[in-house]
């Protein structure tokens, strides 16, 4: 975070924390929606069937695995982008 004073960094961190809470609830809601839509199809009773319950549990695990994997690809991509921008800047400064 070059370019920010300590006070600015603190202010930013507080805002980021708030944002993360909001972000987390958004992702959580999306996950509930997605796994419900994918797994729940039996409305002859109000209790989850064994099949539905297992499906939801696997849906959550699979979602965590896939978002973990995509997160790694995303970070690699960002690191690469930053490197390219730095090289561009340096060649311009020469």
């Amino acid at each position: 975070m070059e370019g920010l004073t300590q006070a600015e960094t603190r202010e930013l961190e507080q805002r980021m924390q708030k944002r993360q809470v909001k972000e987390f609830f958004g992702l959580f809601s999306n996950l509930v929606d997605h796994c419900f839509m994918s797994c729940i199809d039996d409305f002859t009773s109000k209790s989850l069937t064994t099949r539905e319950s297992g499906c939801v549990s696997r849906c959550v695990q699979k979602h965590m695995a896939l978002s973990q994997r995509l997160s790694e690809r995303f970070q690699e991509h960002n690191a690469q982008m930053q490197q390219q921008q730095q090289q561009q800047l340096q060649s311009q400064l020469r």
Partner: protein, 93 residues
């Protein structure tokens, strides 16, 4: 008495208000998702009648009950997962 710990002592005004607001936002969000999801599951899109019929009404009630169960179940699973990993949300990003 709150999902988000509203009522903890020694919070500032702003913190207390933010906590209540966050909880209300969360509940509204959940209510909207419930409506959207159970509408898709229980009510066909052709709208030949203006009233909910018996079958649709029963389906909505069961859908709501299952939605709360799934919500709770996933919430517990994420907490479990997060404890196993020693922190983090487990949602990836």
């Amino acid at each position: 008495m709150s999902f988000l710990g509203f009522g903890r002592p020694q919070q500032s005004s702003a913190e207390k208000i933010a906590a209540v607001e966050a909880e209300m936002r969360l509940l509204t969000e959940m209510a909207n998702r419930l409506t959207k999801t159970c509408q898709k599951k229980c009510v066909p899109n052709d709208y030949r009648e203006a009233e909910l019929n018996k079958g649709e009404s029963v389906c909505l009630d069961r859908c709501a009950a299952k939605f709360f169960d799934v919500h709770m179940k996933i919430s517990e699973q994420l907490q479990q997962e997060s404890q196993n990993r020693g922190g983090g949300s487990g949602l990836g990003f």
